[in-house]
């Protein structure tokens, strides 16, 4: 059998390279209307009065009074309204849509709508905890009592914007009484279920189709449901096709971001200078609505010890509501904040103890069979020592670290170790998602893949098709996979959580096996496969106890930097990574994820600054919000280890998020070495470095 990792041209390559791919904004329906959202200009308050100018013929206002059923966008928490009623909770809170045929006239109407608010004092600090989770492992309290030395640090992280190429958008229309929505989305069934709730209609009355998606990075996980509900309400009332597409600035100002965090870590140090216990408090800024922030918090908390094993833990987490843009899903989903914090902390402890940092970390490295943070077990082999050795060798880490730590060259090298839990947290796959996939062989013996997984550029169409082709032993050209359409595909779950290759791919491999045994040439054969939790995986959602994930992917990032002594600018010189993602389903696709993920992760550490001033984001376009260009991206080398996972298709585990989560700590550690000062806050911008040089701790 040929090695599945061998790269093939992506199935959608031709379509995209030729410019023929149809994105939402390319869709033009005769007689189509446009919509624009009128939004709150205050961070908190009550709407006292809305003055709408006299509308020209065929121009309409759609607001909460038009909602047939619930004024709620179904996510995990039902706190996100489709349209604000009397209360507004952040700048950008949607109040109504203006709908009509000419965008210039719509803009004019929007500018002339006068809204009077009774403003209230907005909250921007961590005061209103709305989610409060806790768990323990071992007996941290006792360990703290029994040890004399305790070390504490607090780490802070900022916003991160997904900055997908294509801003969010939908086109919606009526089709024989039903409403069809075509969107730039990651989760067709999230959108469908949200619209069903808002319209209060039956299963069959709503159809959701995915247009070609120009990037998502998590940003198109839950936010599209907000737009879809608004648009569905408008289409239901006006009975015309309508397009709602954001410009870049509106998109950046109102869609979800990575949660800013403050993480306080306290360690009890045993006699032998190891960490006997860890006390962690993870605080996330949820913004104005919770949406799915509690799940983000869970993932942060579950990553509390990252690649290390610590026997005694006391872990607390809170999501705070603030009067700012709601935060949400973003590649890594809570893990980047935590992995940054724990990696810095392990270094800071070692330094404060006068221990060799590498030795200290190796002593704590997790091994197969160890208890996870939630007292489950690492069931699979952990090959971190091999990854670490390879990454250090490729980057010449040992020599460089010992030289740079001493000299005045302004160079630094940092190395992060991390894992990423694959698939939904805890029992999510079994209890909530209940994924289902369908394979349909037609009379020409072509096999059609029916899944809700979205190819947003990450290559899932190609990898899933390869899994099916290889399982069946048929040519790739005989496998057909289209963009999901809820009329045809079962709910194989959202395209999130590094679950597509492992979980959806795993189901497809099983379906493929069955199809193979039921194969009758020239006849239609349909096979449906449903998710089953592996027997050895046990999870208690209430107590945060057990196996939080069925499998883990592992990685090592090494980042080398030079800091300009006069301007404090950071220049990333090179990046080296080693990953265990089980088995690459396509080497080029996986390396593409690796290059993009690490660039995004490193940039999170030093480049991507987003702040708000009294609830108003200061960086609202790509001139002011910096993502790395090709010139900023350092030479990047990646080594992929094979460590096949028995339950993944051909051994594959998750890979998409793994490549992001270790970038920021590796970068921050490199800067720390270059400047000889402890870094406790990212992004570590030149402005921050200047302050550290003046006042920082060694």
């Amino acid at each position: 059998m040929p090695d599945i990792s061998k790269a093939v041209p992506k199935l959608d390559e031709e379509e995209k390279m030729s410019g023929r791919a149809v994105y939402v904004d390319d869709i033009d329906i005769p007689g189509m209307y446009f919509a624009r959202t009128v939004r709150s200009t205050v961070a908190k308050g009550r709407i006292v009065k809305i003055d709408v100018p006299k509308l020209p013929k065929d121009y309409h206002i759609i607001d909460h009074t038009d909602i047939p059923a619930k004024n709620v966008v179904k996510m995990i928490f039902d706190d996100w309204p489709v349209f604000a009623e009397e209360k507004v909770t952040h700048i950008g809170d949607p109040i109504m849509l203006v709908v009509g045929k000419d965008r210039a006239v719509i803009d004019d109407i929007c500018e002339n709508i006068a809204i009077e608010y009774a403003e209230e004092e907005p909250v921007f600090d961590f005061r209103d905890s709305a989610v409060d989770y806790r768990f323990e492992k071992g007996d941290a309290k006792k360990a703290f009592e029994r040890t004399a030395r305790h070390i504490e640090y607090t780490y802070r992280t900022g916003y991160q914007e997904q900055a997908y190429i294509e801003p969010q958008g939908f086109v919606a229309y009526r089709e024989q009484g039903r409403i069809t929505l075509i969107g730039s989305i990651q989760c067709p069934y999230y959108v469908k279920n949200a619209v069903l709730d808002t319209l209060g209609c039956g299963e069959d009355d709503v159809r959701v189709k995915q247009a070609v998606v120009g990037g998502a990075f998590g940003g198109k996980e839950e936010y599209p449901s907000v737009m879809a509900c608004q648009l569905a309400v408008a289409v239901k009332k006006l009975n015309v096709p309508i397009k709602l597409v954001f410009g870049r600035e509106e998109d950046m100002e109102v869609t979800t971001k990575r949660h800013p965090s403050t993480i306080t870590l306290r360690a009890a140090i045993a006699e032998d200078n190891t960490v006997a216990a860890l006390d962690a408090h993870i605080k996330l800024d949820g913004g104005a609505y919770l949406g799915l922030s509690n799940v983000v918090l869970s993932r942060s908390m579950l990553a509390v010890t990252a690649a290390y094993t610590i026997e005694n833990l006391n872990v607390a987490g809170d999501v705070y509501l603030t009067n700012t843009v709601p935060n949400g899903a973003f590649r890594g989903f809570g893990a980047p904040q935590m992995i940054y914090a724990i990696e810095m902390f392990m270094h800071h402890i070692a330094k404060d103890l006068g221990e060799d940092v590498l030795e200290f970390r190796l002593k704590h490295l997790a091994k197969q069979g160890d208890m996870t943070a939630t007292s489950g077990h690492f069931h699979e082999p952990i090959i971190m020592p091999a990854l670490i050795e390879r990454a250090m060798e490729m980057s010449d880490y040992r020599r460089k670290a010992s030289t740079y730590a001493k000299d005045e060259s302004n160079h630094g090298i940092g190395m992060s170790w991390f894992f990423h839990g694959c698939g939904f947290t805890g029992s999510g796959e079994a209890d909530h998602i209940k994924a289902e996939v369908k394979l349909e062989k037609d009379i020409e013996d072509k096999v059609h893949i029916h899944v809700a997984a979205v190819d947003m550029g990450q290559g899932s169409k190609t990898t899933l098709a390869k899994v099916v082709a290889e399982t069946l032993g048929i040519p790739l050209a005989d496998v057909v996979i289209d963009n999901p359409d809820t009329d045809f595909v079962p709910d194989s779950g959202p395209t999130v959580a590094s679950r597509t290759a492992m979980v959806v791919g795993g189901l497809l491999a099983r379906a493929g096996q069955r199809l193979k045994s039921e194969w009758v040439s020239g006849e239609t054969v349909v096979v449906i496969e449903k998710y089953k939790q592996p027997d050895h995986i046990r999870w208690d959602d209430e107590k945060f106890h057990g196996d939080a994930y069925p499998a883990y992917s592992w990685g090592v990032n090494v980042v080398e930097v030079e800091v300009d002594p006069h301007t404090y600018e950071v220049r990333v010189e090179n990046v080296t990574s080693a990953y265990d993602g089980g088995k690459a389903l396509d080497e080029r696709i996986v390396l593409g994820q690796a290059d993009g993920g690490i660039a995004q992760g490193v940039a999170y550490g030093y480049l991507e600054v987003m702040e708000h001033d009294k609830g108003k984001l200061k960086q609202r376009n790509l001139t002011d919000y910096m993502i790395p260009t090709a010139v900023d991206t350092a030479p990047t080398r990646t080594y992929l280890f094979d460590n096949p996972y028995a339950l993944g298709p051909f051994g594959a585990k998750g890979f998409g998020e793994l490549t992001l989560v270790g970038g920021a700590p590796a970068l921050a550690l490199a800067v720390e070495m270059a400047i000889g000062r402890k870094v406790t806050k990212i992004p570590v911008t030149p402005e921050v470095i200047m302050e550290l040089m003046k006042h920082g701790k060694h």
Partner: protein
């Protein structure tokens, strides 16, 4: 109907703007961004545009005995390749925007836009460049610091077109440019620094320093420079601290979405100190 004009000659262009209504557009890399509208809408130019991009007569680089003459419509990328363009200017242009933008963007646009962060401006100030303006009723030539009257404001009238930038030829033994952008390409300067000196037998004959993005316009202090000419290099180095102090009151940056004033001021003075220290 809005009328846009694409003149083939400078004379036609001047006639088209003679009534002071239409705006001129060169590469459009500032103008199109500034006039952007929401999703799906084109920028609005209610009085019409006069496109300068076909004016081949304004695309040239000519060298005379004492100056370099740059035609206003010469794209930045051409200047980057041109053998007569001074290296210091090339260094600056190479850090402006990105190759695609530089194929259309012009120095004239950078001048007329008059942003305190405009990167070519720091050079034009440092070198005492002159800017030639023509209108249907005549022409005038002014030094750059008289053209630019404040942040985003110039003395240009709506009937005038920048036709040429004149760069006097100087001899320097030391040149320095540093752009502090938030990233390494396609970035607006948070601060910038340019300096040049001519040293002969250990004596400072010429000494110039300019700071960008730290005040309403580029900062250049000729009075300070004058007092330093004629000093010995080691004396200058010894006086570094007091020189920096004299500059400090002229460096008055702001806080904004790209950086803060403490940083801008600190790095500006660091760069000056480094320039002096390495003479």
């Amino acid at each position: 109907m809005v009328e846009h004009i694409v003149p083939a000659t400078l004379a036609e262009a001047l006639e088209a703007i003679a009534d002071g209504k239409k705006e001129v557009i060169a590469g459009g890399t500032d103008l199109m961004v500034q006039r952007r509208k929401g999703a799906g809408r084109l920028p609005d130019f209610p009085d019409g545009l006069v496109y300068l991009f076909d004016l081949d007569e304004l695309k040239y680089v000519r060298k005379t005995a004492d100056a370099l003459h740059i035609g206003a419509m010469t794209p930045l990328e051409e200047l980057l390749k041109h053998p007569h363009v001074p290296n210091l200017l090339k260094t600056i242009i190479a850090e402006m925007a990105s190759p695609a933008l530089r194929r259309v963007a012009t120095i004239a646009g950078n001048i007329a836009n008059a942003s305190p962060a405009g990167d070519s401006l720091i050079y034009l100030y440092l070198i005492d460049a002159n800017v030639k303006l023509i209108s249907a009723s005549g022409e005038r030539s002014l030094p750059i610091h008289e053209i630019i009257t404040g942040p985003k404001t110039t003395c240009l009238t709506k009937q005038e077109i920048i036709v040429e930038i004149t760069i006097p030829i100087h001899r320097f033994t030391h040149e320095r440019f540093k752009k502090i952008g938030p990233r390494r390409s396609d970035a607006i300067s948070k601060a910038s620094f340019a300096a040049a000196a001519f040293i002969e037998e250990d004596i400072i004959r010429d000494f110039r320093v300019a700071f960008g993005a730290v005040s309403a316009t580029v900062v250049r202090c000729k009075d300070i420079e004058e007092t330093l000419k004629g000093t010995r290099v080691d004396a200058l180095k010894e006086a570094s601290r007091s020189i920096i102090e004299r500059y400090a009151s002229h460096i008055r940056p702001i806080d904004d979405q790209r950086s803060n004033k403490v940083y801008r001021k600190t790095v500006s003075t660091n760069l000056l100190a480094d320039f002096i220290a390495t003479l």
